[in-house]
Symmetry: C2
Subunit: 128 residues, 2 copies
């Protein structure tokens, strides 16, 4: 990816600080791995997707890939987010690619299995 | 884990068949790895958690670990699910352990990074 393209992880958003902290932790490995990538929120938290695009435009970034941090696509991803993206493209003259929700990648199901295996192991062999 | 204990993956639920299919795929590696484990839904889809407990009771399973297939804890996991679990314990004489949401495990953040890396790779090197 060239520096004229930016990855934006899109989470739903919440007014609950602990909820946002969990998403920041989930996003951290990606934000560290991909230079310039960002996390943004659909609602109830900042930065919004629009604020993130506006920030990118100050760096002349006009192409974005939005990766939804959702386990599956419901109404938000089928209707609200595409409509929001269409509006942002028209208002700001940018190109925004909407990726499938992250939960559709098989790596997530494998990670869920791994996380549960670890948890069961810790429950049966607690640290001294 | 003995056969008197059952793991239940708890997803939010949706009336959208495609949403449920994504969660079934997310759950598949875990359901294959842990004998007797199940997926259940909080609302809008079946089986419900209560139906899953009732099924387990027919096999004399009285201890359950509920693992939320949620990326972070919001109102549902802080209030609704604990209240639902308390009611089920009282009504059915079972013991239900509520695990943290799966997204709090660092393996999930790593899987998100891996999924995005694969996606970028495919975008830049499309199959012939």
């Amino acid at each position: 990816m060239t520096s004229s393209h930016r990855i934006v992880l899109l989470a739903h958003g919440s007014s609950d600080k602990r909820w946002r902290e969990t998403f920041e932790q989930l996003a951290a490995p990606t934000l560290q791995a991909f230079a310039g990538s960002r996390i943004a929120y659909m609602e109830l938290a900042s930065p919004s997707l629009e604020e993130t695009i506006a920030e990118g435009l100050t760096e002349n970034i006009i192409e974005y890939t939005v990766v939804p941090l959702f386990l599956a696509a419901g109404r938000h991803l089928r209707k609200d987010v595409p409509a929001m993206i269409k509006g942002l493209e028209q208002d700001h003259g940018v190109k925004i690619h909407l990726a499938p929700p992250i939960g559709e990648n098989p790596l997530l199901g494998q990670a869920i299995k791994g996380a549960i295996a670890l948890q069961l192991d810790q429950a049966m062999n607690p640290a001294p």
